[in-house]
């Protein structure tokens, strides 16, 4: 009897914890409407490109290879924790570069790995790709 009650309380604990985790997930997520309305169209259009297609494609390849989407999102794809939509409007090339190779130089308290062992040419194409992420409304 007592061990059955103990089993029951353990099970209830598990259910409460899972319920709490789902509640947290639901409250933290902005919801589908917000995601659609809030995500600016960051698809690079030809007019807004400041670098040739091949460079941007290479930059995107580096973005994918380095799993940047674990922490960042572009047009709602990836982790919504740090969206990169419009980042090309907010930061210039040198700032973007520093965020990639030495983020603590920009913000000493930031929790972001430094990609300082990335080959120079890969950093360059990545920065070019990030620069292309501009807000179409700006």
């Amino acid at each position: 009897m007592r061990e059955k009650i103990a089993k029951g309380v353990a099970l209830i604990t598990g259910l409460l914890v899972v319920g709490g985790a789902f509640l947290f997930g639901a409250l933290q997520s902005p919801g589908p409407e917000a995601a659609v309305a809030g995500a600016p169209d960051a698809r690079p259009t030809e007019e807004r490109l400041q670098a040739p297609d091949t460079v941007l494609a290479e930059g995107r390849r580096v973005y994918d290879e380095q799993n940047c989407a674990l922490c960042h999102s572009i047009a709602g794809e990836g982790s919504p924790r740090s969206p990169l939509d419009g980042v090309g409007d907010r930061l210039d090339a040198e700032e973007l570069r520093l965020w990639v190779v030495d983020p603590q130089a920009v913000d000493p308290g930031v929790r972001k790995p430094a990609y300082d062992d990335l080959p120079e040419d890969e950093v360059e194409v990545l920065v070019a790709y990030l620069q292309s992420l501009t807000d179409p409304n700006s």
């Binding site: 007592r2 604990t13 997930g25 997520s29 799993n67």
Partner: protein, 439 residues
């Protein structure tokens, strides 16, 4: 009713401790979410780590918090909760990898940052902890060695998990969350300090000495001991204690045994122990004069908590007679006038521990002793087989639902007997159990 209120209070405290870190995330300002499933996975991580911290509190033998339940069932709860928390903590990385398979890279220690590897190692320690505990006997791990491994793996799992959470510092990076987790971490450290250093030290200050080692029937031994330089401790008949023999109390070589003697003013104790495991097989070799350290009393299995019963029914399997002996001896010492029954299930007549003592107690008490033998001698006219509903029905008196019932034995036996008593119309509120397989 007061006991129920206390039990409710401590369950509420426990649930608050488990759910507080998750609740804090719900109400405190947090950084931007990482998507529904990502956040659910984070919730699993924080809640699992909180449950891990609570596991340390559950086995810290806090008397007041465990008193309403009996510490034996708190140890069972510790075991069940471990399965729940492992499921929750395994779900933490599994969900993250399912929503983004690239996160598998965090499982590779060559690629992953330290804090991610710490998380993986924490989970591995936890899985090793579960396997070595749930299958300890199958794996042939000795009890004493297992306890040391259990402590090391538990501290490793907690410390690595804590570092993983703290160093990532995303949801755990806000000041309020940092403060709460710092307090949780310090509480776990304080509990380990109390359990592994302070308590052994205080046991060292209050030693006992073995005065007699008596052979009993059925591969059992009675160890008598007396306090040295202090008055011992007060206990309620039926309670148990953790006993260390032949080692320092710091050595983590203690074993839980029911006290078989009745409370006496000079603090002397007797334990009747059956040869069942590595340690208990050596009990017969103990010499009088050896020091002993006794951490007790613990448990809620005592007639002193139910003094108003019309009489007491004791139902024991095997060495489960030990706490019954304590209670019956106490009743005899108090010249209790009520009628009592002892049902004792054993394999054969010659192997019933304390058989002669129960016979002696019948001269001082209105006590009926019902031996139920699996392998009865040819001329046996008493009960045979197992303790069944019919056996109970034959011997329980008319006012059976006014009696208080105490059951101690192997878990399957306890469960069966609880079922029989229920069928006989005995209210569950009158039935007490002691689960003595704590390892």
């Amino acid at each position: 009713m007061q006991g129920m209120a206390q039990a409710g209070f401590w369950i509420a405290v426990y649930l608050a401790a488990v759910l507080a870190p998750l609740g804090l995330l719900l109400v405190a300002p947090t950084p931007r979410g990482g998507g529904f499933w990502w956040d659910v996975a984070m919730g699993f991580g924080f809640a699992g780590l909180a449950m891990m911290a609570v596991q340390f509190l559950l086995t810290a033998r806090f008397r007041r918090a465990t008193a309403p339940f009996g510490i034996d069932v708190v140890y069972y709860f510790h075991r069940y909760l471990a399965y729940v928390l492992v499921a929750v903590l395994v779900a933490h990385p599994v969900v993250l990898i399912l929503i983004n398979p690239a996160q598998r890279m965090y499982l590779n220690p060559l690629e992953a940052p330290w804090e991610m590897t710490a998380g993986s190692l924490s989970l591995l320690s936890l899985l090793a902890l579960i396997v070595s505990s749930a299958w300890r006997k199958n794996l042939g791990i000795p009890y004493d060695g297992w306890r040391v491994v259990h402590l090391i793996l538990a501290v490793a799992a907690m410390a690595l998990g804590f570092y993983h959470m703290w160093a990532i510092g995303y949801y755990s990076g806000t000041p309020v969350v940092r403060v709460v987790w710092a307090l949780i971490g310090l509480s776990v450290l304080a509990v380990v300090f109390r359990v592994r250093l302070l308590r052994p030290w205080s046991l060292l200050q209050r030693p006992f000495r073995v005065t007699e080692v008596r052979e009993e029937r059925g591969d059992s031994w009675t160890l008598a001991m007396e306090p040295v330089g202090h008055g011992g401790f007060a206990f309620e008949p039926g309670q148990f204690a953790w006993v260390t023999l032949g080692h320092s109390p710091f050595a983590m070589r203690e074993h839980p045994f029911s006290i078989a003697s009745s409370p006496v003013p000079d603090g002397r104790l007797e334990f009747t122990i059956k040869e069942l495991g590595d340690f208990t097989r050596t009990v017969g070799q103990i010499e009088p004069g050896e020091p002993a350290y006794v951490d007790g009393p613990y448990g809620a299995f005592s007639l002193d908590r139910h003094p108003d019963a019309a009489g007491y029914t004791f139902i024991a399997g095997g060495i489960g007679v030990a706490p019954m002996a304590s209670m019956l001896r106490a009743l005899a010492d108090r010249e209790d006038p009520r009628s009592h029954i002892l049902f004792a299930a054993h394999s054969d007549w010659e192997r019933i521990p304390l058989r002669d003592e129960f016979q002696r107690l019948r001269e001082h008490l209105d006590l009926e002793v019902v031996h139920v033998l699996e392998e009865p001698p040819e001329d046996w006219s008493g009960e045979t087989g197992w303790i069944t509903r019919e056996v109970l029905d034959r011997h329980l008196p008319e006012n059976r639902d006014e009696m208080e019932y105490f059951i101690c034995g192997p878990i399957p036996m306890i469960q069966k007997v609880e079922g029989f008593l229920d069928e006989l119309g005995i209210p569950a509120s009158r039935v007490r159990t002691e689960l003595f397989d704590l390892a």
